[in-house]
């Protein structure tokens, strides 16, 4: 394939969940993509901006653009970071490079379905899986219709998971309620943040879920933190891991 793909691995995945980055890279390569990982990358700048300090984030934005503008696509296993680049990089000067990066930065699921038009995957995951619809991907990038809008129901993540052999996807009582992570919200409002997380986990548990998956590892970091503290058996896996053929 002639296109050049730049891989962006969000800071917390790089530091804490390398297996998610590895799965993303391997999956893209398996599907025949030429992927480059610019080693100078850091973060998309969202933590500052969501705290109200987007002005402090502009240098980080520039850094991101500088690293990625030469690629045809920038792919990241995070709807949240992608949403941030696309939506909020509007405060820096809109040079051709910036416009290009904002247009071509895609979440992994979008890239697989909209660009690669993947129809089949070589993956098997014979487990009961609950999909957490991370908000920025769902309502920011519109990776699905969402329960609020009166549209034909759809979900890109769901479509991809259904390509995995042996997987059993459950229906949740609340299909797409927020997990309570919310970036610095998790530390500013810890009581509600944790309560929201507990409630999400309980919904998955009631459906007998073995593995809770999502398109954003940040949600899963928060949920996993609660799961481990409460010594629950339910596990978390980023969707890239499942699509790449992970096993438990």
């Amino acid at each position: 394939m002639p296109v050049k793909i730049g891989l962006f691995i969000p800071c917390y995945i790089d530091q804490f969940y390398p297996q998610v980055g590895i799965a993303t890279l391997e999956l893209l390569e398996k599907l025949g993509c030429r992927v480059e990982y610019p080693a100078g990358q850091t973060c998309c700048g969202q933590p500052m901006a969501n705290t109200g300090c987007e002005q402090d984030a502009t240098t980080t934005y520039q850094h991101f653009v500088q690293l990625f503008h030469a690629f045809d696509y920038v792919v990241a296993p995070s709807g949240s970071c992608v949403y941030h680049v696309r939506k909020h990089y509007d405060i820096i000067e809109q040079t051709e490079e910036v416009k290009r990066v904002r247009k071509n930065t895609l979440d992994l699921a979008e890239f697989l379905l909209d660009v690669l038009q993947v129809k089949r995957l070589e993956a098997r995951f014979p487990h009961k899986v609950g999909l957490h619809q991370s908000c920025h991907g769902l309502r920011g990038l519109r990776l699905g219709s969402g329960s609020e809008r009166i549209l034909e129901p759809s979900s890109k993540l769901n479509t991809l998971l259904r390509m995995v052999a042996g997987i059993e996807l459950v229906e949740l009582t609340r299909a797409d309620e927020c997990c309570g992570f919310g970036g610095t919200f998790a530390i500013n409002e810890p009581a509600i943040s944790v309560k929201m997380g507990k409630d999400r986990i309980a919904d998955h548990e009631r459906q007998g879920v073995e593995v809770l998956t999502a398109g954003d590892m940040s949600c899963l970091m928060h949920l996993e933190g609660i799961i481990r503290r409460q010594r629950k058996t339910i596990q978390v896996k980023h969707i890239a891991e499942i699509l790449n053929g992970a096993s438990l």
Partner: protein, 454 residues
């Protein structure tokens, strides 16, 4: 910790009550989903409603003048109030002229915002809120916790106790039917004795000079048609250009609010009764200022359906009182900072920016985007707590630098791996109070990748 976070933490301490509150509101959200799924053109209606409101905001002065002149032709007295104080003064002067001592009110968030009740009671007027929920919280001397369901935070046992004390219902009685009947008898006496009635306004029609009020209980009409003086208080943003636009908004309002296809009563008032007097008070109270804020003026499209509260996972788990503002929840958190930015600088942070509010909103207000924008304004105006401000400045320097980023990443991972638990999990670690920190791997992705390339 900001005020909302503190109050929310207090609210959550009673977990089963939090669950009850969350479920009660989620139930309303579910009813809303069901009702709107019955309307295939729902999304189109939302878009139309939003566009009509855009037009209204861009011609608000003309529409208000048109509204006023039609209303005056209809024999209505029209008053203008720049702020809450002026509004209260105008209402009181009308009451004074008619020597009104007993007043009934139906639901109005505007008079709540202006603290009209206190103002009138201080001046010796008996003020009775007649919406059942409003009456409950009035007797309990609390502010409403929700704009559509003011007493949603109370359990029937609490209402039973309150009614026993104030309305002399049987001790221990908690049956909503019985309690509602008691309120009916009590309120009928108040309606019959009232010398004036005040209502809020859902919609005002520029073309005809009339106002529309929606209720389920019929309390607005019981008040208005029995008392010789009727007063309707409205914010300037309630205007719709023509009666035909009511078609869109009446289809959206009740379905969004409670999941009903329409409120039981949708009353259109254009002229006073032959023996009565009709007043309309048009209020600014900060709205024109909000109109001037490009990023936030869309908040004036709000039709006060409350759907954003019902869907908000934070509102549901912290209750309306945790916001400390007249209008709580997502819409309150974008309206209230416009009134007093310093005082309410915590509210735009009482959100994960999940965006559910914006998608549920029948007039498509981009609520979560405005929350994000208010956060930026709060920092610019210097209202972000200094510690947070500093750490973000610091992050702003570290994150664009590959080497600093790599260094700190390593440092954090190393610290989590090596430091003993009590060192990591202390009272400064808000994350770790009820959550484990992530377990850092031996190798970051970057390191793995470098190795692989080599």
């Amino acid at each position: 910790m900001n005020e909302h976070a503190q109050k929310a933490a207090e609210f959550i301490r009673d977990e089963s009550r939090t669950d009850w509150h969350d479920e009660a509101l989620w139930f309303v959200r579910t009813k809303r989903d069901k009702a709107s799924h019955g309307i295939p053109e729902w999304e189109e209606l939302r878009e139309l409603a939003s566009q009509v409101k855009d037009n209204v905001l861009s011609n608000l002065d003309q529409y208000l003048e048109q509204f006023e002149s039609r209303a005056v032709q209809n024999g209505v007295h029209v008053h203008w109030a720049a702020d809450a104080e002026a509004h209260n003064r105008i209402v009181y002067s009308i009451l004074e002229k008619h020597q009104v001592q007993r007043l009934v009110k139906s639901k109005s968030m505007l008079t709540e915002e202006c603290h009209l009740n206190e103002y009138l009671i201080e001046r010796g007027v008996e003020v009775v809120d007649t919406d059942l929920g409003e009456r409950i919280i009035q007797l309990k001397e609390e502010p409403p916790s929700h704009i559509v369901m003011p007493a949603i935070h109370l359990k029937k046992e609490e209402v039973g106790e309150l009614f026993h004390e104030k309305l002399h219902t049987k001790k221990g009685a908690t049956d909503p039917k019985y309690l509602t009947e008691a309120a009916r008898q009590h309120l009928r006496q108040k309606f019959l004795a009232a010398q004036a009635a005040i209502t809020g306004v859902n919609f005002a029609i520029a073309e005809t000079g009339g106002v529309v009020v929606c209720t389920n209980e019929g309390n607005a009409d019981m008040g208005v048609h029995l008392a010789p003086v009727q007063i309707h208080c409205m914010g300037i943003e309630k205007i719709l250009p023509r009666a035909e636009h009511l078609g869109i908004f009446t289809r959206l309002l009740a379905r969004s609010a409670t999941g009903q296809p329409i409120t039981i009563y949708t009353s259109h008032y254009h002229r006073p009764r032959p023996d009565g007097e009709m007043h309309i008070v048009i209020v600014d109270n900060g709205r024109t200022a909000q109109l001037g804020r490009e990023d936030f003026r869309n908040s004036l499209k709000c039709i006060r359906c409350g759907a954003c509260m019902n869907t908000c996972p934070i509102y549901r788990r912290s209750g309306g009182h945790s916001y400390g503002s007249t209008v709580p929840g997502p819409i309150g958190s974008i309206l209230t900072p416009g009134i007093d930015l310093k005082k309410y600088s915590g509210l735009p942070f009482a959100s994960t920016l999940c965006g559910s509010c914006s998608d549920v909103c029948p007039v498509k207000i981009n609520i979560h985007e405005q929350l994000y924008r208010w956060r930026q304004v709060i920092t610019q105006e210097g209202h972000l707590p200094p510690a947070k401000r500093q750490s973000m400045k610091w992050a702003g320097r570290v994150l664009p630098s590959t080497s600093w980023y790599n260094f700190f990443g390593k440092l954090v991972s190393w610290a989590i791996r090596r430091f003993p638990r009590p060192f990591l999990y202390n009272r400064f670690n808000e994350w770790g109070k009820e959550r484990e920190l992530p377990q850092p791997p031996r190798q970051s992705f970057k390191e793995w990748h470098r190795q692989r390339e080599a």
